[in-house]
């Protein structure tokens, strides 16, 4: 499988290199769907310029990325394009290896269940053969690398690519079972944008199950493991925060990065849900709605973890979807990361009743974003309502797809393990 993967990597790198050299690169770097105030390359360059002048890069409310990123680019600014291409390659390879390992475990579980005759006879369609599962890791890598969203994000040099790489490495280390590295990568991801904190729950669930520790609140071994993980996670987070402090010599990155993500002061339109609401809101209610919107992202962790505790990898996928829909400054790069996971559960797609509608809506909305932006900003014939309508439709379609995937996955897993007929009629 190394040969097709290498071919795919070469193809992906060629496409990105070709686009970097064309005149589209500047055009793409300005699109609000692809870059946000957090991830724009223009702002990284501004921050670097301020750093070179000896001023804090966070002065003037331009730069909102973490100090480690600015120091990384301090050394790599001349090789920025190569850095982003390498980042995409790392993400794809990490996802490839992670899915390969996951497939092996799934296949093993399936074999045991088959031998124990726990599958009813009419569930044969749900059973995956080794042949299909052989191609899934390559498909995952392909879905990530050749996704137009990823290519746009890479060509725009959005730091979202770096976030995706860290999350992909976190997923790889979690699935391999390496507790320390998983905690370190998760803390790095949280350090960059706060929302991956919700991925703690699926990571814990997966690692405890992998080590055969029963997930039971009354058992000491469970809490001991949780304490270990929390210690490693919080420890590495603490180390990174202190390192940032010593790098820059002040604490002013905390309000600029985390304060910015949580309090959403910049209302540039993007594909998220925050900007329009907060543009229309009265000051009096701003704090209340801010809390509501931010809690919304963290809130789904609890019910999803309870319901999906047998399927922690699916839970990771769901959490990534929830984060990229509801975060304060989403971009298409975030969406590309969770879309890459679709082939892993492709055997369930036959049962998704509205997949056609949802895919059509997503496709149409992606095409309509630049059209309505042009009509609003350049032609002046439309206004922000039109653009927000498309944003809403886009997010509703994503949410719809996420919900039906969960429903079908739960139904399939339940019917697979309980001795009754397959509920192909998923209501």
């Amino acid at each position: 499988m190394a040969a097709p993967l290498t071919l795919l990597l070469i193809l992906a790198v060629t496409i990105r290199a070709a686009l970097y050299r064309s005149s589209l690169a500047d055009l793409i770097a300005e699109r609000v769907e692809v870059v946000s105030p957090l991830t724009a390359w223009k702002r990284v360059v501004e921050g670097l310029a301020l750093l070179d002048l000896g001023v804090s890069p966070y002065a003037g409310d331009v730069f909102h990325e973490t100090p480690l990123i600015i120091y990384l680019f301090h050394f790599l600014v001349d090789y920025a394009e190569i850095t982003f291409m390498v980042t995409d390659v790392i993400t794809a390879v990490a996802l490839y290896l992670a899915v390969k390992d996951y497939n092996k475990q799934v296949f093993r579980k399936q074999k045991y269940a088959l031998e124990a005759e726990r599958y009813p006879l009419d569930c044969l369609e749900l059973i995956r053969s080794p042949k299909e599962m052989y191609y899934i890791p390559l498909k995952v890598a392909m879905f990530y690398l050749l996704n137009p969203f990823t290519i746009l994000s890479c060509v725009a040099k959005s730091t979202c690519g770096l976030n995706n790489a860290v999350i992909a490495l976190f997923i790889l280390t979690t699935i391999k079972g390496n507790v320390l590295l998983s905690a370190i990568f998760l803390s790095l991801a949280t350090y960059q944008s706060i929302y991956p904190l919700t991925l703690c729950a699926p990571a814990l669930l997966y690692l405890t199950q992998r080590q055969y520790i029963p997930v039971n609140f009354r058992r000491f071994s469970f809490w001991w493991f949780v304490a270990q993980y929390a210690f490693m996670y919080l420890g590495s987070l603490f180390v990174m925060i202190c390192l940032s402090f010593f790098l820059l010599g002040s604490w002013d990155y905390l309000p600029s990065v985390y304060g910015f993500i949580l309090s959403v002061p910049d209302l540039t339109p993007n594909i998220g849900l925050f900007w329009y609401f907060f543009a229309e809101m009265f000051e009096h209610f701003r704090l209340f709605f801010l809390c509501v919107f931010q809690i919304n992202i963290f809130f789904y962790t609890i019910p999803l973890s309870i319901k999906l505790k047998e399927h922690p990898v699916f839970l990771i996928f769901m959490q990534l979807a929830v984060i990229s829909i509801f975060k304060s400054y989403p971009t298409v790069g975030d969406i590309a990361l969770y879309l890459a996971f679709l082939p892993v559960w492709s055997h369930l797609h036959r049962f998704l009743r509205n997949i056609f509608l949802v895919s059509c809506v997503l496709l149409a909305c992606s095409a309509l974003f630049p059209v309505l932006w042009h009509l609003w900003i350049y032609a002046g014939s439309a206004n922000s309502n039109f653009y927000y309508a498309i944003t809403l439709l886009f997010n509703v379609a994503q949410v719809g797809r996420t919900v039906t995937e969960t429903k079908v996955h739960l139904a399939a897993s339940v019917s697979g393990f309980v001795y009754r007929s397959c509920c192909l009629t998923v209501t």
Binding site: L124, E125, I127, S129, K131, E132, R350, F356, C360, L363, A364, A367, L368, V371, L372, H374, L375, Y378, A379, G380, S381, A382
Partner: protein, 576 residues
């Protein structure tokens, strides 16, 4: 100003100002360029009497500036007979006496050689003098005389807004007037007129706010000047068949003009910068009741006083409308559902194909494995037509201009003809493709294969038509009318020859040919087939020129997106 004055201009005929009892001026200016040898020399040297204009405007108390520009067209423009264009724009700014200089209005008149627009410049200068003496101006007024009509206007607007989207060379503007709120462009070829024609269609089918059109019409009615749209007068008998068909004809003319994506007056380029603008043409036909320049002056003065009182940009009324007459309009809420219903046809066909594809295949032993295997070769066989169609589209976009030199060496045609004939040749060569594509992909296509390709093509067409209809409704609607029936019914199993004929008849190129004839019919100037063909070739060349000069999107849209989509359906027809 009382009394009459005579101003002697070098080698020009007498210019007289007469006194009018109600208003203080009547400015009568007559450019008779054929009379004076030195004036011909001025036109030949500089094309426009720049120095005289500068002096005249300065004499009227305006701040005068000039801008030079130059542009080499990708190939000669045979309609306007220009290739390497050099010119100068002259503009004078009337500063508002008591207001901060933050907003401006523009009155422009294109200055071309010959008699075409000779009265407009005179009227503009007369108005400038009159406006200078008034105290109620709250916005600066910029009197612009642009050379080489649209090219000069593009240069001026780019200079004013510090953008450079079309690669023109222009000198920076020395004087500015703040953000422009509205603009009017004058075209007047005779000193008396019978009606004023309002032209609204701008670049890429953009229209000014309906309030501007309503304002102009209301003023015309108040002053008693006949106002027309699309050159047609309004009728009062809405209920009769002939009255209704007259309105339909007017509306269809507007649809045709909007679909072409060209600016139909100098105002068309303002709209892109979010400036409401319209062109006012004076028409002198064989009517008894004539309106003189004085009345036109009063009309324009009234318009500008109204625009002067604007507190914010015109945005309250519709931006998307079609006008069957000046007192009736069809808003987007009425015409979009028609388009929506056409798009629904495509979506239903896509749904039908999806259901056919997703239904389980006829029973085999290891059913699961077979379905999975069938997917990969079909994806490849779908990808090949897609890539080849788009490469043909790219060839249609690039080859006509870039291979112009090569075409000139081999064929005895002029530059423009070379470009247009190359475009037609590439378009026709694309029709030969399906047979080659299938030899390229090993094995024949399967039943499954063409369904997947048709699903992709139908969804692609639906999204493309939707986006086009949002930006330029008329273009999207015309393309939808011709492409949707074809897209819905084509399969490899329909009879090949009649379907191929229908598919070619409804392809974008033939639609354009029929539209040319239809447009001429609507304007009540029907033409013969030969003239129609020549007009068709010139329309294609104008389309390519508009794209490179002003950034019109019609040619790249059709070449890069609509034509490859149509080729996919051609491919499906010849799938076996």
């Amino acid at each position: 100003m009382t009394g009459s004055q005579e101003i002697r201009a070098p080698d020009l005929s007498l210019l007289t100002i007469q006194q009018d009892s109600q208003y203080d001026f009547l400015f009568y200016l007559n450019f008779i360029c054929s009379q004076s040898a030195s004036l011909i020399k001025i036109f030949l040297c500089s094309g426009m009497p720049v120095d005289w204009l500068v002096k005249t405007m300065q004499a009227r108390g305006l701040e005068v500036f000039t801008q030079t520009f130059s542009r080499t067209l990708p190939f000669p423009d045979e309609n306007k007979e220009r290739y390497m264009v050099k010119g100068t724009n002259v503009y004078g700014i009337l500063r508002a006496p008591r207001a901060p200089r933050t907003e401006a209005l523009v009155l422009s008149a294109p200055c071309t050689q010959g008699d075409h627009n000779n009265q407009a410049v005179g009227l503009l200068l007369g108005l400038a003098q009159y406006f200078r003496n008034q105290i109620y101006w709250a916005k600066d007024i910029i009197f612009l005389i642009n050379e080489h009509d649209l090219i000069g206007m593009q240069a001026w607007l780019e200079g004013y807004h510090h953008t450079n989207t079309t690669g023109m060379d222009w000198s920076p503007l020395q004087g500015r007037g703040g953000s422009i709120q509205a603009a009017l462009s004058l075209e007047l070829s005779s000193d008396v007129i019978t009606s004023m024609d309002l032209v609204l269609e701008g670049l890429n089918g953009q229209l000014p706010n309906l309030d501007l059109a309503n304002l102009f019409y209301a003023f015309c009615q108040k002053i008693g000047v006949l106002c027309t749209i699309q050159g047609k007068l309004q009728r009062n008998d809405w209920d009769s068949v002939s009255g209704y068909s007259h309105s339909v004809q007017t509306m269809m003319l507007m649809v045709m003009k909007q679909a072409s994506g060209r600016p139909w007056g100098d105002h068309g380029l303002f709209l892109r910068y979010h400036i409401e603008a319209a062109t006012i043409k004076g028409i002198n036909s064989f009517r008894q009741y004539k309106t003189d320049t004085n009345t036109i002056g009063r009309l324009l003065e009234g318009m500008y006083r109204k625009l002067n009182n604007l507190l914010e940009r015109l945005h309250q009324s519709y931006f998307f409308y079609l006008m069957p007459s000046l007192s009736h309009f069809v808003s987007i809420g009425y015409y979009m559902p028609a388009f929506g219903l056409l798009a629904v046809i495509l979506l239903l066909r896509a749904l039908d194909l999806w259901v056919q594809l997703a239904s389980p295949p006829p029973g085999t032993e290891d059913g699961v494995v077979d379905t999975e295997q069938m997917w990969s070769p079909d994806v490849l066989s779908v990808l090949t037509p897609l890539v080849i169609s788009h490469l043909t589209g790219v060839a249609l976009y690039y080859l006509p201009i870039h291979f112009q030199k090569m075409a000139l060496e081999h064929f005895p045609v002029s530059d423009t003809e070379a470009v247009v004939l190359t475009a037609i040749a590439v378009y026709t060569a694309g029709l030969a493709l399906p047979h080659n594509t299938h030899r390229f992909v090993s094995g024949e296509g399967t039943e499954h294969g063409w369904r997947v390709l048709k699903l992709v093509a139908v969804l692609y067409l639906a999204v493309l038509l939707g986006c086009t209809a949002l930006i330029n409704f008329s273009l999207g609607f015309i393309l939808a009318l011709t492409l949707v029936p074809v897209a819905a019914f084509v399969t490899p199993h329909v009879p090949k020859v009649p379907s191929a004929f229908v598919l070619v008849i409804l392809s974008p190129a033939c639609t354009l040919l029929f539209s040319v004839f239809f447009f001429q019919e609507l304007q009540e100037v029907p033409i013969s087939f030969q003239d129609g063909w020549v007009l068709y070739l010139s329309v294609i060349s104008q389309g390519i020129l508009d794209h490179s000069l002003y950034g019109s999107l019609v040619y790249p849209l059709i070449a890069l997106l609509v034509y490859p989509c149509w080729l996919l359906f051609w491919n499906i027809l010849f799938w076996e």
